[in-house]
């Protein structure tokens, strides 16, 4: 079976120059960096906060904070990884503000070994893309991922949706590499389990749920 290849990111050859110029106060250069990563930051923020207004605020605050603190950026990591870390923290802050009754933390390690054991074992056929209209499919995917514990959701979104490496995901979330791998496995298996309930092979006479 062919391995999943992470999507190729934007070429980073001119990025150091843009970051250097922005650090020197060139807002035009910083605007280029915004254009490069605003869609990613918005997606990550919306996945974490699950709220569009919060996600809009996170995009603004994260980029502004990045601009203000570029002097602290050492260039040991990629600019994008550094930016994602700022955005994740801003998003978590908003989530906590909105739901103060629930402790939400990156460190939260939910013990759900049992929940990760596959129970629904059925191939997906026909393809979900054929089975559902695009809007319906988006609704299913959105609802399903929202059901994951936030600490699993963040790892899955950064690693599998945004295509950060395991090491970059660990850096952006301030987690160890083994912690990222363990959560990623459980996140992937839990999503698979839940999606299979929608997408499992249709037998004659079956109707979709």
């Amino acid at each position: 079976m062919e391995a999943i290849k992470p999507p190729v990111g934007d070429p980073a050859n001119d990025e150091t120059k843009l970051v250097d110029a922005a650090r020197g106060g060139d807002v035009g250069a910083f605007e280029q960096l915004i254009r490069r990563y605003d869609r990613n930051v918005f997606r990550i923020a919306q996945h974490i906060t699950q709220n569009r207004e919060d996600a809009e605020d996170v995009v603004q605050d994260a980029f502004l904070k990045a601009y203000q603190n570029l002097g602290q950026f050492q260039g040991q990591s990629k600019f994008y990884t550094w930016l994602v870390r700022i955005a994740v923290n801003e998003a978590l802050m908003r989530l906590r503000r909105r739901r103060p009754e629930r402790m939400v933390s990156i460190d939260e390690d939910v013990k759900t070994e049992e929940d990760s054991m596959p129970r629904e074992i059925a191939d997906w056929s026909p393809n979900p893309e054929q089975l559902y209209k695009q809007a319906e499919l988006k609704e299913i995917l959105s609802k399903t991922i929202q059901g994951l514990p936030p600490s699993f959701r963040m790892v899955f979104v950064l690693r599998d949706v945004e295509g950060l490496s395991t090491e970059e995901t660990a850096e952006a979330l301030g987690l160890s590499v083994p912690a990222v791998k363990s959560r990623l496995l459980r996140a992937r298996l839990q999503l698979r389990e839940r999606l299979t309930k929608y997408f499992r092979k249709q037998r004659n006479g079956d109707t979709k749920q």
Partner: protein, 84 residues
């Protein structure tokens, strides 16, 4: 190899980040274990379907508005001085 052992390695297998020997063992398991084959296949599809889903796309008008607001704030922002 037991199915539970296969599952533990699934993430590294899908990411193709393992040594050749372990990979061979896993692929041998996949040849005869239908359940693990299905779980592996549908997990791979799970990743692909989310990656291709275009969930939470940023519409152009909102994107332009946000960028203009950020740029405006940057022009007026106080900046931290570097440590060094």
């Amino acid at each position: 190899m037991k199915c539970s052992e296969f599952l533990k390695e699934l993430t590294d297998y899908l990411d193709d980040s393992m040594d050749a020997h372990t990979k061979e063992e896993l692929e041998e398991h996949l040849q005869w274990c239908h359940n693990c084959y299905v779980v592996c296949n549908t997990t791979k599809r799970t990743i692909e379907i989310y990656r291709d889903s275009e969930l939470f796309e940023l519409p152009d008008d909102l994107r332009n508005r946000l960028r203009a607001a950020i740029v405006d704030k940057c022009h007026h922002a106080k900046r931290e001085t570097p440590d060094t």
